[in-house]
Symmetry: C2
Subunit: 375 residues, 2 copies
Amino acid sequence: MSGFGPELLPYGVFRSPGSEPRVGARLGDGVLDLAALAADGTLDEDPALFAQPSLNAFMAAGPATWSRVRAELTALTHGPDAEPATTPIGDAELLLPIAVADYVDFFSSEHHARNVGAILRPGAEPVLPNWRHLPVGYHGRAGTVVVSGTPVRRPRGQRPGPDGPTYGPSERLDAELELGYVVGVPSAHGEPVAVGAALDHVFGAVLVNDWSARDIQAWEAQPLGPFLAKSFATSTSAWVTPLEALAGQRVAAPVQEPAPQEYLREDPWAYDLGLELEIAGTVVARSNARHLYWSPAQQIAHLTVNGASLRTGDLVATGTASGPGPGERACLLELTRNGTEPVTLDDGTSRGYLADGDEVVLRGDLLAEVRGRIV
Amino acid sequence: MSGFGPELLPYGVFRSPGSEPRVGARLGDGVLDLAALAADGTLDEDPALFAQPSLNAFMAAGPATWSRVRAELTALTHGPDAEPATTPIGDAELLLPIAVADYVDFFSSEHHARNVGAILRPGAEPVLPNWRHLPVGYHGRAGTVVVSGTPVRRPRGQRPGPDGPTYGPSERLDAELELGYVVGVPSAHGEPVAVGAALDHVFGAVLVNDWSARDIQAWEAQPLGPFLAKSFATSTSAWVTPLEALAGQRVAAPVQEPAPQEYLREDPWAYDLGLELEIAGTVVARSNARHLYWSPAQQIAHLTVNGASLRTGDLVATGTASGPGPGERACLLELTRNGTEPVTLDDGTSRGYLADGDEVVLRGDLLAEVRGRIV
């Protein structure tokens, strides 16, 4: 849902034929080569920030550098005569934009928590007692985060059965539509990041597809949580939207009840960003990031309250960003009630879970899409 | 429990005054400087393998290089006249030996699973139905793995209470005695590692203290597993014992019942390595790695069966290595029945959980100790 106009200018890493990977900024159908622009003096920055195989050096440079570079690029790309040279997007191989340090996935939509709880624990209170007191989360596998466009191999593993577990390909392969925040500025080990200072550490935002094998998850996840059900792949946008570009989307959110502990307390807010989940050519869910209960600042304050440090390249995802309505359920587990009520696609076929060959596309306002095909 | 004799030769990373970090091998009270030995031709290796701030370049070089270097060092350090120059250990600052990629913690001792299940879910079957079918595990935080000797700050967070959660320092801070395996050779994304080939990827072994805040864990861990209860710190040995040095400790283990799925099947085995857990000067538990149910090869085969890749620097821990006897319970949760039956130390004081100032020391045969003091 982004035309990559000059108001956006997200950052990524690309390689053109015969060249080394370097940092670029997306503009329309082209890529501004920031390493080249810094080398020839068009950008008044150290070229070493951008002649890199990831955004990490630039991300580590901090908010003053981020703002200055964005202002320079804005000057370069605005105005009636602005026609900076770009590499055509068709000539650019897009790489994973960040070297992922740790990957944490939260569970920040109450609608998702409620829908999943009702499906998996029928008859019980769907939202667990801790949910409104803290952003529930867990660590995922950083080494299998892949860039948009990377095919996703259907995972094999142990699935529950009436006569004990069987081994084979997952039969309940799902996608989850999430936002992710990328940490630029690290924090010191042992020192919590205050909720009011949390966004100073965040470089930008992406979409995240937290692929999930529900059958593997159902069998393995007690008592230590999801593991192989998630670790086979996590897809993320090729372009990281700078947080500054999202500032205008910040909206007030409903009061949090009960009031969270002091270290999580702030004026409730969220980003107003439309989101959609497309499967095999059909948009099956439309949601909005404003439905998330916990803000990115609260997620980061919680993540560090025990003294855990942030590192440049940490990826912090929101969990499935479902909204309140039936068309806003942002994964198949919710949409199909664990496969029992398949969704019908525009071509007349239906899906309980993903079929081989399905391409899943996540889109979001001001965020770069995430594509992945099941192979 | 190691004098670092010439049969061991574990690897680490050290810095002496005024020098850059480099790879060393421990020998008695000294450190062999492998970067210097390669630079002056004593070792017939590329100095760039060792002039590094972590073992990762050397670990990535693979088993043939590991064997050759070990053979060269063995030749250098054996024989009546062998007196290679070393840096005195007192002049060496020991650094975290590996750049940790992903950190996975398993739950591979059935005794630990049984003891913990009986304490936390009284009246229910203590070992969950999945436990004997697969090595249960989860991802921990790679960014807070610290080297032996690093002080550990008592974490703060939300703890359960009769009137809802309260915020403050953990009152149930625990240590867990574990082994860890360090991955050297990466594997391809999408391609499982066969159980019979798993050890070809493993560079060596360490001890791991998986510090755990039991009160934080009790409140946060449903439904997605432990998170802040573990992520504040994980301590590991400063010296990595090469797997070759453990070959003589390999012993047959009891048959696994039920037979695991084909991808996990191998002749059952374990390492015979005595282990001990010392708290504030008193050894409170003695166990042995031979009591672990799942082998390191099975852990790695499981970790990758869904197509997840291994990266150089992955740390794969066993979970608490408890044995069958009451003196073999390798964490305070088990030893004190969640604090209700405190252990008495040699100085007459007792502990339900760790007190501020306590130093915890893990020791193991052929493995380098892990120390950490609560501050």
